[in-house]
């Protein structure tokens, strides 16, 4: 397809945790064989529990980590193996919204300076052009009147306002791809909706592609085109949002959906069925399907052989022996 922006093939990110010179090599297999494509202007929610590798995947796509193997192809160019100095252009094309706005902004920079920094680094515009861009970015995240906000320091802002600055910084270069890593998990419920809508609005307006990383399935509805479910370093199921929510196939997806409380007072009288145990150790993951030890529908083959990802119907992929 010609509007494909990002293609990820068999991506693996293993972290070396070998202890000592002669010890056996040991790796944390944080991301282990991920495939997907993302078109211009589309968005993905990457959903998983902590330790499922979703942040590692997001950061590797931005080349903040180097992949162990596999390919990342952005706009037709393979950037998976490039040297960092050769992909400075890639930093202009991508943006990151961090989880913790309180830690993402340098405390001794004014908001103006925070937003000017990437423009200076990439040699964009002269002073007055930069000023226009900064004001425009602040307006876009609705930190108005901009003249009041620009000279402020981060500590003078509330959490929601800080997160807006972080979003403005990620978007000021007009990147084609933005990774938002749990952008609202540190914020109050009443502010979350506002920030998500802001992000969605900007994404729609500029046809930016977005990868939204979250553990909270309840916020992804109505927010992104795709949902990818990650478990123990693998994408176990991916489909368009509506399809996945109305037709979940993988037992892990079902368990995850089941665990989300709906605001209904009847819940207090019911004990829900929840898979026992914890996600596996990624140094030594189970040989077959990684969810097999906790799965209620486990078969013999599940603990022996790793299931392949298959497209079970149009644009709905699942990695599970129940369907192959």
């Amino acid at each position: 397809m010609n509007n494909e922006l990002l293609r990820v093939e068999e991506l693996k990110v293993w972290f070396d945790i070998k202890k000592g010179l002669f010890a056996k090599p040991m790796y944390v297999k944080a991301v282990d064989g991920v495939n997907f494509t993302l078109n211009t202007g589309e968005s993905i929610s990457l959903v998983g529990e902590s330790g499922s590798g979703k942040t590692t995947l997001g950061k590797t796509i931005l080349r903040l980590y180097k992949p162990t193997s596999g390919k990342i192809i952005f706009d037709g160019k393979d950037i998976s193996d490039s040297d960092l100095k050769d992909i400075k252009w890639y930093r202009r094309e991508t943006g990151l919204v961090q989880q913790d706005p309180f830690g993402a902004l340098p405390p001794h920079f004014t908001i103006y300076r925070v937003l000017e920094e990437p423009l200076i680094i990439h040699n964009i515009g002269n002073k007055s052009e930069r000023r226009d861009m900064i004001y425009q970015a602040l307006e876009e995240v609705r930190l108005t009147p901009v003249e009041d906000f620009a000279p402020k320091y981060p500590h003078m802002l509330s959490g929601g306002q800080m997160q807006r600055v972080v979003i403005a910084r990620a978007l000021i270069m007009r990147p084609k791809l933005v990774v938002a890593d749990e952008p609202v998990s540190m914020l109050d419920a009443s502010v979350r909706v506002e920030i998500l809508e802001l992000l969605k609005g900007i994404q729609d307006r500029h046809k930016t592609s977005l990868i939204y990383i979250t553990h909270d399935l309840a916020t992804v509805r109505m927010f992104t085109h795709w949902i990818f479910i990650m478990y123990a370093g693998e994408i176990v199921e991916r489909a368009l949002t509506k399809e996945l929510l109305s037709n979940p196939l993988h037992p892990y997806t079902n368990a995850l959906l089941n665990a989300i409380p709906d605001p209904n007072p009847e819940n207090r009288n019911i004990i829900k069925e929840v898979p026992p145990g914890e996600p596996p150790d990624l140094v030594n993951p189970p040989p077959g399907c990684r969810f097999a030890p906790r799965c209620s529908q486990v078969k013999d083959i599940c603990s022996r052989e790793r299931p392949k990802e298959i497209e079970i119907r149009n644009k709905h992929w699942v990695r599970c022996w129940l369907y192959s």
Binding site: E49, S50, S158, G160, D188, A189, S190, V191, R192, V193, E194, E197, H215, D216, L217, A218, T219, R221, M222, L245, A255, L256, L257, N258, A259, I260, P261, D262, P263, N264, P265, E266, N267, R268, I271, K272, V274, P275, P276, E278
Partner: protein
Amino acid sequence: MENNNLLKVENFSISYRTRKGDVEAVNDVSFELKKGETLAIVGESGCGKSSLARGLIRLFPRNIKKVEGKIILEGRDVLSLDEETFRKEVRWREMSMVFQGAMNSLNPVLKVVFQVAEPLMVHFGTDRETAFSRAKEVLSLVGISSSFAERYPFELSGGMKQRVVIAMALITNPKLLLLDEPTSALDIITQENIMNLLKMLKKELNLTYIFITHDIALTSELADRMAVMYAGEIVEISPVEDFYKNPSHVYTKLLLDSVPTLREDKDLKSIPGSPPSLIDPPSGCRFHPRCPLAMDICRVKTPPFYKIKEGHFARCYLNEGK
């Protein structure tokens, strides 16, 4: 007083001294709690819900300025007791608490069984052997097998550590358990496991909970009654069914509108603005600067509690004459 009332809080206020002025963290809070009942307290961060819980078990920070009101536990005002009596007779004997993030405060160099047994040895002077075997009983009750009892905290996962912390609060057989965000920082499936555990314990031990959280959807898993806090005050208190069906304070309505749901189509709304500073809270109704329906009277006079029906009260002028 009815004899199935376990706890009655009357006009409870707490303020802290800071360099910028006095912070009225909890202002004139009153409620009752029956035996075996769960009250959930919800609100945004900084609304005073944690201050309230810590105040009930009398763990005040050093900069405490003023504590007023009554906390009547089974007919006795425990707020007027001196600290030594309270420590000996009430705290951990009558009421325990699961603190927010407590699972990260386990002592890394002590086996978990010792840490669970410790309150028993401290409060009841139980000998080590009895305390340890009782600790193992409680640990197995919360779903931790005896082989894990002999381990150190770093060998346990987050969910298991949370179970240990709950065991610690339960070992002295308290009647009232204060749960301050017991599942924050846990994954969704682990969270559901802990909620199941709390439900089971409630049934088996006939426990009374005060459950504090900012996650409204989660309260539906446990709460019989709901209290909504805003800027240090309880603005609405109601049976849980009425909380969803007939929210009667504007803030409660807006809060409910901001809860994302998975299975239901709805337009999410956010509440404009942010909670006020508690050093100099707004006059009248504390929510009026953010309230889309604010009237003149809201700005000047603090609204009284309007009775919507038995057990359902809301502090909002819009209920006048209804």
